[in-house]
Symmetry: C2
Subunit: 121 residues, 2 copies
């Protein structure tokens, strides 16, 4: 399998008007952390939670996030744990409550998306 591709560097030199405008080299292996950040946002529950936290512009306890998202306690807990794992939210414990807050990177990503949606509407 993988019957070798590499089409153009063959025969003569097809680099003038053909493809190949020198493709930059990037380390593909090191992309996984970043993919995980986007993967954490690639789900309605988790993205909705981030949006709520960004809109709240401050701390919100987990129990206040579940109802508007219409998901169970377990679901929001799983969701917030994953968001925390990739650094999209911070959390603080107070008594029996756990307060969550969006991190700067979360705010920035949402901000970019909002600006984009604003543009082409």
């Amino acid at each position: 399998m993988e019957g070798q591709s590499d089409p153009h560097p063959s025969s003569s030199q097809i680099q003038s008007q053909a493809c190949c405008p020198t493709v930059p080299e990037i380390s593909i292996e090191e992309l996984d952390d970043e993919v995980e950040i986007f993967a954490a946002l690639a789900n309605t529950t988790r993205y909705g939670a981030v949006r709520l936290l960004v809109a709240a512009d401050g701390e919100v306890c987990a129990c206040d996030l579940a109802p508007p998202l219409e998901v169970s306690q377990s679901a929001i807990s799983h969701a917030l744990s994953r968001l925390f794992a990739v650094g999209l939210v911070e959390r603080r414990k107070q008594g029996r409550w756990r307060y969550y807050q969006a991190t700067p990177i979360a705010e920035e990503l949402i901000d970019r998306i909002d600006a984009h949606q604003e543009r082409d509407r």
Copy 2:
């Protein structure tokens, strides 16, 4: 199933130092488009393609993207189609080649991620 939650508005008024700092209302249904954008980036092949395009800072033909990502022709084609569908890349046909280019929103999201990675390293 779903034995109704809504914990605090019950008994007395537990809003002072408890949770509930007025959770903002957002339209959860309208989030799907945005989730699709992040979902498109939540895969190594697709994210790698976007990174290559952003790094290239210009057009790159599909055949030049497959080798560095170590994926098949079919895989890169599927990947680019999906990225195009959500507006993360643009494309232009020239002869039998198809040139892809990152869109502004793609560049901005990558830019935010890079700045973030820079920060906590």
